[in-house]
């Protein structure tokens, strides 16, 4: 019932879904731990002409720096930085294919690093799917939606930025706290050991000398 009429509707639905998925900003936002002397690579397929952006930040570990490089499908290095704490890189893809970006901690021998990266491909589609090619002007409600959407995007971005900064500062503060505790305990122990050692050493000098030159009382 209605099967003949369902085909064009379902074809349209398929087309709409494919269009929505193709235009959606694909990408990945991950936080992972990079062990010392290790390198981790990620790959993403990018269409020709699409713009992609990579933001990364080191959250904890060592001197908070990491090497990063991005390669296009032909193997050319389009971005390379060493020992960066955070950076942002955007590029318009000239070649269609699989782009590779790698984080390297090979210069470090004993510090694990926690790295956050955000890789976005493509532009954000407008909040209303056919905003670009509409004949009539947007109604007030639709333009209010658009404004709110833009504002929320800014809020989310700055929220992520503050969250990462706070995580980094808190890691440093916890580090400082534990270092102060260890140092105070260690120095107390060292103080006592050194002071008793000094006294015993001095005593030992004078006791031996005493036994040599003086004649024992009889």
């Amino acid at each position: 019932m209605g099967r003949a009429g369902a085909h064009p509707a379902s074809a349209l639905l398929l087309l709409l879904l494919l269009v929505l998925r193709a235009e959606r900003p694909r990408g990945a936002e991950l936080t992972f731990e990079l062990p010392d002397s290790a390198r981790q690579c990620f790959h993403e397929a990018v269409e020709r002409g699409a713009k992609f952006s990579l933001d990364y930040q080191v959250i904890t570990g060592g001197h908070y720096d990491v090497d990063c490089y991005v390669e296009d499908p032909l193997g050319n290095t389009i971005y390379r930085e060493t020992k960066k704490q955070y950076d942002s890189f955007t590029h318009r893809a000239e070649v269609k294919g699989v782009y590779q970006f790698c984080f390297s901690n090979e210069f470090s021998t004993f510090s694990h690093k926690t790295i956050y990266f955000d890789f976005q491909v493509g532009d954000e589609p407008p909040i209303l799917p056919d905003m670009g090619n509409r004949v009539t002007a947007l109604t007030q409600m639709e333009s209010a939606c658009v404004t709110i959407h833009e504002a929320l995007k800014t809020v989310i971005d700055s929220q992520t930025h503050y969250r990462l900064r706070e995580a980094q500062d808190r890691a440093r503060a916890e580090d400082l706290n534990s270092r102060v505790s260890y140092w105070s305990v260690g120095e107390t122990v060292a103080l006592f050991v050194v002071s008793f050692g000094q006294v015993l050493l001095l005593k030992s000098f004078f006791t031996e000398k005493r036994a040599g030159p003086r004649a024992p009382h009889s």
Partner: protein
Amino acid sequence: MQTLTFVFSFYFSLSTAFYFHVGEREEKCIIEDIPSDTLITGTFKIQQWDIHRQDFLESAPGLGMFVTVRTYNDEVLLSTLYGPQGRFYFTSHSPGEHIICLESNSTRLVSFGGSKLRIHLEIRVGQHDLDAAIAQAKDKVNEVSFKLEHLIEQIEQIVKEQNYQRDREENFRMISEDTNGNVLWWAFAQTLIFISIGIFQMKYLKDFFIAKKLV
């Protein structure tokens, strides 16, 4: 027919997703710092390296993926074995770092050079399943009201993150004040210890020298 169409388009988007390589028995972990009551959806697919063809197979026959989700205090939220392709969900009960670990259940004892896996992964924070409903909206009012629902959801997520941020900042401030108090207390204690040890040393040595008739 409608369901088949929807499933087909989902598969299409996953095959070109973001991926990375791991060794066959290696465990890869991802950290997600999220507030409480947040739904996380993860979609993954494994491809196995074929030695003879020197390329990746379309799928990984016979391999499964062991997915473990732990909180910061090692409380296990999810620990399940999936097939080579699947989707997992979990909702966080407490705010904090959640560690999602993926490991294949390969039983190969020796992984010789060249055996690796390609893992396609997509992790989503918060609910995002309104897009399909929007595509099927019949009229204008419905479409805009779905979009408003999407915006309201985004705002709720932002408010949750902000509350979480407030808690974390308080924790951070407590740690800093703790450190400050510790340093101050330690400075006083150290001065006292120095002075008392100095007095003790002088007294002891003076008594010692007087006893030895050197002074």
